[in-house]
């Protein structure tokens, strides 16, 4: 049974790796160059959207998973939900970091600045800060039960404040391109396939990494349990 489970994860890893390679090919080579840009640098930089938006989506999705895990933990008090919530934060922060960095790389040729206090950028940064604080809170608590409870509370309160921050977008003048609105998509039709493929590929990557983290979390618990058992039997 144990071997079978390991194998399933290995298969998933291989699928994710292949999917990411295909996504890279589609985004960097197959996707057409954008028509409505001025400079060479902007033409190349445009391809970053295939990664930037996928990462942003995965980041926010990961924090949603953390929120759900936190609520379930507070409700049920089962350890597995705490492991899920904390694992998802680690992956989410990594993806969010990548979002901010890729956005910055794109902004230089497109807006001629690495950074601007555009609301969407600000929201992403504040969200990133909330979950970095979440990790700091966890690392500052020793008692596992209390750590799980406090982290769950912070996971809930933090997530609730994100949409309120996000709302401010509408009222601030924004220079961030709105890729999707009600009428059109902002992407030419032959860009859509690489875009959505990349979105799916990175979502898959998220789940693969999340599964690994959750597994490590359960194994760490097992190790603690065995250690305690060994100490008890030695006495």
């Amino acid at each position: 049974m144990r071997n079978l489970r390991l194998d399933r994860i290995t298969v998933l890893n291989v699928i994710a790796a292949v999917t990411i390679m295909v996504a890279l090919y589609l985004a960097l080579i197959q996707a057409p160059a954008p028509a409505n840009v001025d400079t060479e640098a902007q033409r190349y930089a445009q391809r970053i959207i295939y990664f930037h938006i996928s990462h942003a989506w995965v980041g926010f999705f990961a924090f949603l998973v953390t929120f759900l895990g936190s609520v379930l933990y507070l409700w049920k008090g089962e350890r597995q939900w705490d492991i899920l919530a904390s694992s998802s934060v680690v992956v989410g922060v990594a993806f969010m970091t990548a979002t901010i960095i890729t956005g910055s790389i794109w902004a230089k040729p497109a807006w001629n600045t690495w950074w601007t206090w555009d609301p969407r950028l600000t929201t992403s940064t504040v969200t990133w800060l909330i979950y970095v604080s979440y990790l700091m809170l966890r690392s500052s608590l020793d008692d596992p039960a209390r750590r799980a409870r406090f982290a769950a509370v912070y996971g809930v309160v933090g997530f609730v404040s994100v949409p309120i921050t996000f709302f401010a977008i509408r009222w601030w003048r924004t220079i961030h391109p709105v890729l999707f609105d009600a009428s059109n998509m902002g992407l030419s039709p032959n860009m859509r396939f690489p875009f959505f493929f990349s979105l799916g590929a990175f979502t898959l990557l998220y789940f693969v990494i999340l599964i690994q983290y959750v597994r490590v979390g359960h194994l760490a618990d097992e190790v603690e349990r065995l250690k305690a058992a060994t100490r008890a039997s030695r006495r």
Binding site: L74, V126, T127, L129, I130, S133, M136, L137, S140, L141, D142, R146, R149, F150, A152, V153, Y154, V156, V157, G158, V160, S161, I164, T165, F167, A168, W171
Partner: protein
């Protein structure tokens, strides 16, 4: 004892404790004053009109000073073993939350009441306007609402006081943004109707975040 009486009893306890030592209020007040003075020096040479930075400076000073008060709020309870006594008392857990929260709100508001005239004089702006005061109260309410919850968490961590600002600032960011926007708009003489959305955001933040803090407070103090 009704729920409101329970809340009032906890506020009274905090006020009496504060009146005996006066350490929280005095440190908050002096800190706020220091922040205002330091900002004055830091910006004076480069900013033509001090009024343009007044809203930001005001909110930074108030929230940083408030942070000191919020930290003391539960550190005192924990260090002197009062927290266990509070939890053993036959009062509702949510009464503890609202009592501590309103106590913190009162202390910060009091600091604001004293700092505001001084601030107005130093920056040569008139902040004593009805709507600015309302914005100040709403902002402080949201800040102390979430701050009380996080303060109860931070005292149990290894980093203690250090962690509270790290936890609190990113979460209260939307309220701070709205409060600064509103204060600036009101100082510029904009009509409130033009900024109704910011006011709604601020009120929504207060209502939602205080409700969530109230619902989760039980999990923070349970042992």
């Amino acid at each position: 004892m009704s729920f409101l009486h329970q809340i009032a009893a906890i506020i009274r306890k905090d006020v009496i404790a504060e009146l005996r030592t006066k350490e929280m209020f005095s440190s908050m007040f002096v800190f706020a004053l220091l922040a205002v003075v330091i900002f004055n020096f830091a910006f004076e040479l480069r900013i033509a009109d001090a009024a343009t930075i007044a809203p930001g400076v005001l909110w930074v000073s108030v929230t940083f000073a408030g942070m000191l008060g919020l930290n003391r709020s539960f550190v005192l309870e924990k260090d002197r073993g009062c927290l266990d006594g509070l939890l053993l008392a036959p009062v509702d857990r949510s009464a503890i939350y609202f009592g501590k929260m309103l106590g913190n709100f009162m202390f910060i508001t009091l600091v604001e009441a004293i700092i505001l005239p001084i601030f107005s004089a130093l920056f040569n702006v008139n902040l004593i306007q009805a709507w600015i005061l309302i914005v100040l109260l709403l902002g402080t309410l949201g800040f102390s609402g979430v701050g009380t919850l996080f303060s109860a968490m931070a005292v149990h961590t290894r980093a203690r006081e250090v962690l509270l600002p790290v936890l609190l600032f990113p979460v209260v960011m939307p309220a701070l943004i709205a409060a600064v926007k509103l204060t600036a708009g009101l100082l510029d003489g904009q009509a409130l109707a033009e900024m109704a959305n910011w006011m709604q955001l601020l009120v929504a933040f207060d209502v939602i975040l205080i409700a969530v803090s109230y619902m989760t407070f039980d999990y923070v103090v349970e042992d």
